[in-house]
Amino acid sequence: MRRNPALLIGAAMVALVVVFALISAVWTPYNPTEVTPGRLLPPSTAHLMGTDGFGQDIASRVLVGARSCLLVGVVAVGIGALLGVPLGVTAAVNQHSWLGTVIMRATDIVYAFPALLLAIILAAARGSGSTVTAMTAIGIASIPAFARVSRGAALQVLSQDYIIAARSAGTTPGGIAWRHVLPNITPVVLVQASVSFGLAILAEAALSYLGLGTPPTTPTWGRMIYESQPYLYTNLNLALWPGLFIAIAVLGFNLLGDGLRELVDPTLQDVR
């Protein structure tokens, strides 16, 4: 961990978001969805980040927003990893057969499909946008990244001596994939998960901004920016806070991913 500032700074930023989410579960300064007459107040000791156009406390909404940001990240990355990693490993194990080719071409097609478009289609199919459609769309869109990364890592693992040794001991292809390939590609998958987490948060903010994500009753950072739009020239305060925390969360997960990558990949350590 020596001389790996990316890892430390990234972890600290991610920790901040996690702490926000945990605090909001037990306490917020005000009810985050309570409409009060005190509209558009500037930051003060009573309202640390001021209030928005409905008189709702921005600090409370930022705290609660951390929760949905993490929820979306966890579920989207979960969908991406749970489907993408097995697909990638299967493609690697069946590298020379039609199955491997079909899997990778199929993920290429998904790769070419923007998450936004997918979210619009899902929202249209279900009648309206919701947290679930947003999470599903982002999750599906992140499958190709996981599939590609785990296929590459699995191919590298499959060329190792211990794989031939395991096969010579009678391990079946399925056993090789489950017992030897998966544990050995875990570090690489973790790095990808961290990077995808950042992308998922950004995508969720974009979807909420477009009204395709979380419904208005649940505060999210993307939605807060959307609602701040009429006041952008008069009260920058409204967009500043959610924007700042989106930036912190995304940057944090990206730095964490970079730091982990450096920790995992010994060839990068020599470069620095």
């Binding site: 211990y162 040794a165 001991a169 079946t172 017992r179 030897h180």
Partner: protein, 281 residues
């Protein structure tokens, strides 16, 4: 003939893009309990032969001829069926102990895997069988070694673990591909000794692959010399060592004899005995 455990007939292996076959019409027989050495230099096709017997050649290798195991053809056998054979009836020890163990798995579990794969022992007994086998291959503190990850063990210890994995199911045939090349000479002698002991206990036949004539002659009854994918000579150990017929074999034996080299003198090389330019097998 029917006593043969392994019968290789006219085996050829080609890799796409290579003009010459890696293995060229090799025939070899190994009887029950028999110990056979396959000797040759790097790239002579000895490891490819071993992998062909195990059915572990890369997918793009083109194999022709026949490899029969107790009468059953192995070439083209379905992989699931082959998997049951590997590790149970035929097992293999590899050259590189540093990379032949999965770095993410404790060694004890890796040895137990081989047992589990072939339904060897009920869950409760597996651990004690593993510790017993580790002790048999000369590991002083099997408990600690079983609970270690491979990176915590020395090369000699890892090679012993690999031998334990290969012998735990008492296979009919053990294939050793340069098992001591990566070890230093003192450890090498000890490992060979343990291998001998293990084979005696299991009653297994042996196919011992090496470039080192001294090591091979210590382990086997019969020797086949392989050069550029072909077996140029084969016979009993004393035939090969005392009356080599092929100049390549004679050269191998002469280069191994260092007693007559003057101090500070140049070591003999194969080309001193056999000009490769005029070879014509």
């Amino acid at each position: 003939m029917t006593d043969d455990l392994l019968t290789i007939d006219d085996l050829s292996v080609r890799f796409p893009g290579n003009r010459h076959p890696a293995v060229d019409r090799i025939s070899l027989r190994i009887g029950r309990g028999e110990r056979v050495g396959l000797i040759g230099e790097s790239g002579s096709g000895k490891s490819v032969t071993a992998l062909a017997v195990m059915g572990l050649l890369a997918d793009n290798a083109k194999t022709t001829g026949s490899i029969r195991w107790q009468g059953d053809e192995l070439l083209g056998m379905h992989d699931a069926q082959y998997s049951r054979l590997r590790g149970e009836q035929i097992s293999m020890v590899f050259q590189e102990p540093m990379t032949a163990l999965d770095p993410t798995m404790r060694t004890g579990r890796q040895v137990a895997e081989v047992l589990r794969l072939h339904g060897g022992a009920p869950a409760g007994e597996a651990r004690s069988r593993v510790l017993q086998t580790l002790a048999k291959v000369g590991i002083g503190d099997p408990q600690r070694v079983a609970d270690s990850f491979p990176y915590q063990l020395s090369g000699g210890q890892r090679q012993r673990v690999l031998i334990a994995m290969a012998l735990i199911n008492t296979p009919d045939l053990l294939i050793c591909d340069e098992p001591t090349t990566a070890l230093d000479v003192t450890v090498q002698a000890r490992v060979l000794e343990l291998l001998q002991g293990g084979l005696d206990l299991a009653g297994s036949a042996l196919l011992f692959i090496s470039h080192d004539l001294a090591v091979v002659s210590q382990m086997v009854d019969r020797i086949a010399v392989i050069y550029e994918g072909r077996i140029v000579e084969s016979g009993t150990r004393s035939q090969i060592l005392n009356a080599p017929q092929h100049p390549y074999t004679a050269g191998l034996i002469a280069t191994a004899d260092l007693a007559n080299v003057p101090a500070g003198g140049r070591l003999p090389v194969l080309d001193d005995f056999w000009k490769r330019t005029d070879r014509g097998h």
